[in-house]
């Protein structure tokens, strides 16, 4: 049979995590990401891994904290309200410089909100939902194949920089089915001399903690952590340009919004409007440089989001407000139609010219 399989986005994340060497998964069910846990429940026992349904999201993230301390690849997943519950643990993991992979298959909010798709956890993911100065590497897949490949990438980056990688998907990405290939997956391994693996009386013990009794020392930890963040901003930005060569209007969109926008751009091109897109694949680090460069060429930007306008602030910052940035959005579990994005493109061009 063909080497591809037909998968839900959520299943692709789970299988990719296994391919990346993750043998520890802790979670708590919540729509629209429950298939990740269901898949892990079926697969982990067959490959000698651990699937554990925790008593709560808070318990699950702290199990991640413990397992990461021991140097194992570990993940948890949830959807928006569950990620809020995990935020304290995420801050502790950041403060302890531990690698982990956390998946947020977003739904509409705030509060209990909706089981339908959303992207309104952008601020929470990119600016740090928990307390203190920290970042997570935030990856935004726009296809089921990317749900798989970015999960593997997320584990690698997490180990490389000793921090959390978050897969920031949305309900549509989690639920939609597309063919996926798991060939060409390269798994990197990293030495973890800091891990709590037992000294056997032969080495000095390691300490994993986010606590420092000396303010000056805690300040130094923060400085060195931000030095690492600077390297990530320099080296790990990922984005994709679509029809940007001659674009007059630049759409900025990620995840499902990017897919809708791709259709809108084709519709605009058919009407003779030169639209293009810069699709951030890493939301943190944000692709500031390509946007700044585009600001010298295009007339306007359009941020397409399933939120009341969150990423738009990063677009304005990256472009230093050189050009107007319009917002095209739906919320509460709704998705903008290609037609509504097209209307916004026409508005950015100064009205319908046909």
């Amino acid at each position: 049979m063909a080497e591809k399989v037909l998968m839900k986005g959520n299943e692709a994340i789970a299988e990719a995590a296994i391919a990346a060497g993750c043998r520890h998964y802790y979670g708590y069910p919540i729509t629209p990401q429950t298939e990740i846990a269901a898949y892990m429940a079926k697969r982990m026992p067959k490959i000698g891994g651990v699937f554990l349904q925790a008593e709560s999201e808070i318990a699950a993230i702290n199990m991640v904290y413990g397992t990461a301390s021991a140097g194992y690849r570990v993940m948890t997943s949830s959807s928006s309200p569950g990620i809020s519950l995990k935020s304290e643990g995420l801050s502790y993991i950041a403060g302890s410089d531990l690698p982990s992979l956390v998946v947020n298959v977003q739904r509409g909010g705030p509060g209990l909100g909706s089981i339908q798709p959303g992207q309104s956890d952008y601020f929470q993911a990119t600016k740090g939902g928990g307390h203190g100065d920290y970042h997570m590497i935030v990856l935004a897949p726009a296809s089921v194949q990317e749900m798989a490949s970015l999960t593997v990438k997320g584990f690698d980056l997490a180990d490389k920089y000793r921090m959390t990688s978050m897969i920031l998907a949305d309900g549509t990405m989690g639920q939609m089915m597309e063919p996926v290939s798991f060939e060409h997956i390269e798994v990197k391994t990293y030495d973890k001399p800091w891990a709590l693996t037992g000294t056997r009386g032969k080495r000095k013990h390691n300490i994993i903690t986010s606590l420092s009794l000396v303010p000056k020392e805690l300040e130094e930890w923060n400085f060195s952590r931000y030095e690492r963040y600077r390297l990530i901003e320099e080296n790990e930005v990922m984005y994709e340009e679509f029809m940007m060569e001659d674009a007059e209007v630049c759409i900025v969109a990620f995840g499902i919004s990017a897919r809708v926008s791709q259709n809108a751009i084709r519709m605009a091109r058919a009407k003779g409007i030169r639209a293009g897109m810069i699709r951030p694949i890493t939301l943190w680090p944000f692709p500031k440089a390509p946007l700044a460069k585009a600001a010298d060429k295009v007339r306007a930007f359009i941020s397409v989001e399933l939120s009341m306008g969150q990423m738009i602030e990063d677009v304005e910052l990256a472009t230093r407000c050189k050009r107007p940035v319009l917002l095209c959005n739906r919320v509460g579990g709704m998705i903008p139609s290609p037609e509504s994005v097209l209307a916004k493109i026409e508005e950015a061009m100064g009205g319908d010219r046909t």
Binding site: K4, L6, I115, E178
Partner: protein, 226 residues
């Protein structure tokens, strides 16, 4: 094709049950039968039978569905009128059962009436390109779990092996031995092989009992499309 008063489609989640149920209901309606389609899926939050509400209504097909389908609420409640599938024996009923054993539990409530009336067929939908049902053995495991959950035995198989937009005639043909193997293991016949309509010309000579599917809904273009 042999047609029963009640046709149930069950299988692993994501195997294509909803799409086939909608197409099968439309097929029966086109033959002139009065048809009711029942969305019994209490598991899946998105991409549902209810998404085809307008198309079904246009063909005079009655739609029964969970009370909160396609809302913001994650509450698996079935309406009282769902009993019409077993009460209203003048109409043909097509039942779209939720995936796996968890989805099939909801069917158990109606199983005694369906078994008593005994004019049903329950079809196991298989897609051998789904990662957890890659072969006949894995599919059989899911079959038995579903039967245990709902209390009804399967009566025939449907081969719906596909890779979505990337399905080729060869990809369908490659799964033919596997559905025969499953048929041999469980002793049930293959009622049909379901394929997108565009694939029918290439497969008409080599696959028996082809059933053409017109995609229920196309939600998003493939990506990246370039």
């Amino acid at each position: 094709m042999n047609i029963s008063r009640v046709t149930l489609f069950a299988g692993h989640y994501g195997s294509g049950k909803t799409n086939i149920a909608v197409n099968y209901a439309e097929y029966l309606a086109a033959l002139g039968y009065p048809v009711t389609i029942a969305d019994l899926d209490i598991v899946n939050p998105y991409f549902r039978t209810s998404d085809s509400e307008a198309e079904l209504a246009a063909r005079g097909i009655r739609l029964l569905r969970p009370v909160y389908a396609n809302t913001n609420l994650d509450l698996p409640a079935l309406p009282a009128e769902m009993y019409d599938v077993v009460r209203d024996t003048d109409r043909f009923a097509v039942l779209d059962i939720g995936g796996d054993d968890r989805g099939a539990y909801a069917l158990g409530r109606y199983a005694p009436s369906i078994l008593e009336e005994n004019r049903y067929e329950m079809l196991f939908v298989a897609n051998f390109y789904r990662p957890l049902t890659r072969d006949a053995g894995a599919a059989l495991e899911v079959m038995r779990e579903i039967e245990c959950a709902c209390g009804i035995r399967f009566t025939a198989l449907v081969n719906n092996s596909n890779l979505g937009e990337e399905t080729t005639p060869e990809a369908v043909l490659e799964t033919a031995p596997e559905i025969e193997r499953l048929s041999g293991m469980c002793g049930l016949p293959v009622k049909m092989t379901t394929v997108r309509r565009r694939l029918v010309p290439a497969l008409a000579d080599s696959v028996r009992h082809l059933f053409a599917l017109d995609l229920q809904k196309k939600y998003f273009e493939s990506f990246p499309s370039a």
